[in-house]
Amino acid sequence: MLIVDNIHAGYGTSEVLQGASLEVQAGKVVALIGANGAGKTTTMRAISGMIKPAQGRVLLNGKPVQGYGAARIAKLGLAHAPEGRKVFGPLSVEDNLLLGAYNHLPMFFGFRSKAAHDLEKVYDIFPRLRDRKQQSAGTLSGGEQQMLAIGRALMANPKVILLDEPSMGLAPVIVQEVFNIIRRLKEAGTTLLLVEQFAKSALEVADYAYVMEHGRIALSGTPAELHKNERMLAAYLG
């Protein structure tokens, strides 16, 4: 579904990614883990078109999309819930969700009724959002904002979802909740690429995982394989 082939990317003079490759198969949850500054978020940004890769290919559903703008890649069926959540603070929760489905809805009128079914589905997953649907998103707590960001990505009915550090800055209880949701998405057959600092939790939900070091993929394997890997154990799982 999503193939990243030897991409190089960075900001200004510093090249953060130095030839990273990975693959996400349809219906699978793939985790990307690694130390801070290893290039996980940069990989996500390069895939979704927020930065242009200097080299390499990104294939979405077999189609090369590297070098496209973020809006164009989103239209092709990739949803990216970015690091730091990035909800539209002044807009209401419901408007945030509607905008998630921007590509599928009519521009002017009747978009609310067309989106009603998907909205209900998202509200069923996140009942807390239903309670607060008229509240402006900026006033939500960190955990609620994270749920909104995931819900907004789901609204696009995407082929692939990129989830960047959904646990960032959240209390442990909320982190648990977020991972439960990821598990539910997995059961529903969602294709997911997950960047996570909590390697252990990430490995619990993932079908397959990549470990990043210094802008390259250092290790990969199923969680079971990685649990056996000496290096992995020493560095990330303690």
């Binding site: 979704s48 078109g49 927020m50 703008g69 973020a70 809006a71 164009r72 989103a74 239209k75 949803a79 990216h80 970015p82 990035k86 909800v87 539209f88 603070g89 002044p90 807009l91 408007d95 509607l98 905008l99 998630g100 921007y102 590509n103 809805l105 009519p106 521009m107 002017f108 009128f109 978009f111 907004r152 696009a156």
Partner: protein, 284 residues
Amino acid sequence: MVVSGALMGLVYALIAYGFQLTFATSKSINFGQGELVMLSAFFSLSLLNWGVPYWLMIPGGLLFGVVLGLVVERACVRLTLEQKSEGWILLTIIFGLLGFSAAENIWGRDDRPFPTPIPTEAMQFFGVSITPLEISVAVGVLAVMGVIELFKRKTLLGKAFEAVSADRDAAELMGISARHTIMLSYGLSGLVAAMAGILISPITTVGPTMATALILKAFAVAVVAGLDSGFGVVLVGIFLGALESLTSFYLGSGWREAPGLILLIMALAVRPNGVFGKASIRKV
């Protein structure tokens, strides 16, 4: 008199609103907006002279404004925004200069009357003398602003507009093209300028300098109200318009520009983000 001043203030508010539209999406404004007002007014006058009926002239003039707005975006704004520079300030000033010179040479330097079917005799309301023409200005201003606000709140495209102003990167991730949204905002801002030109011309007459004073006060209104405050401009516009007519009554008409300018500089001293504006957060 104070009431007519306040109604004039609504025109300032309308132009200031045009600044807000582009500032919301791109953090830039068109410093040649006054020339857009003037050029659209001239073009509308020419339409009338070519025999186009009054009510068809309005959409024609508005369309012209939209086109000019788009030209400004393409020629003066897009490149510098991509370079993250403030070159657009200079470039839009330059565009205004070019427009001014073109108008001078194409339509002449003299002020010309702008015909209108709306009666101009004063009527009395509760002891206030007011002309239907002035009322039509107020109605026109509020109608345009109302329609655009409805568009922003009730349509998905309008919400996308708001999304781009809230977080450009995140909006791109939703598939909303920031570039198209910025074009849209410049188009709308051109439309607003054209509307202001058509509304005000019957009162002020049409000439190359018709918008020079107008635009300064629109700037003042936009900055005093805050460049992101929606309807704050209406209140500040009305206030400034009324204040002006009082100043020109008591101090002489030459001083009528003064209160707006003083108001602006003082407001900046007290609240740099405008009376109704939000404080911005610095990021590292």
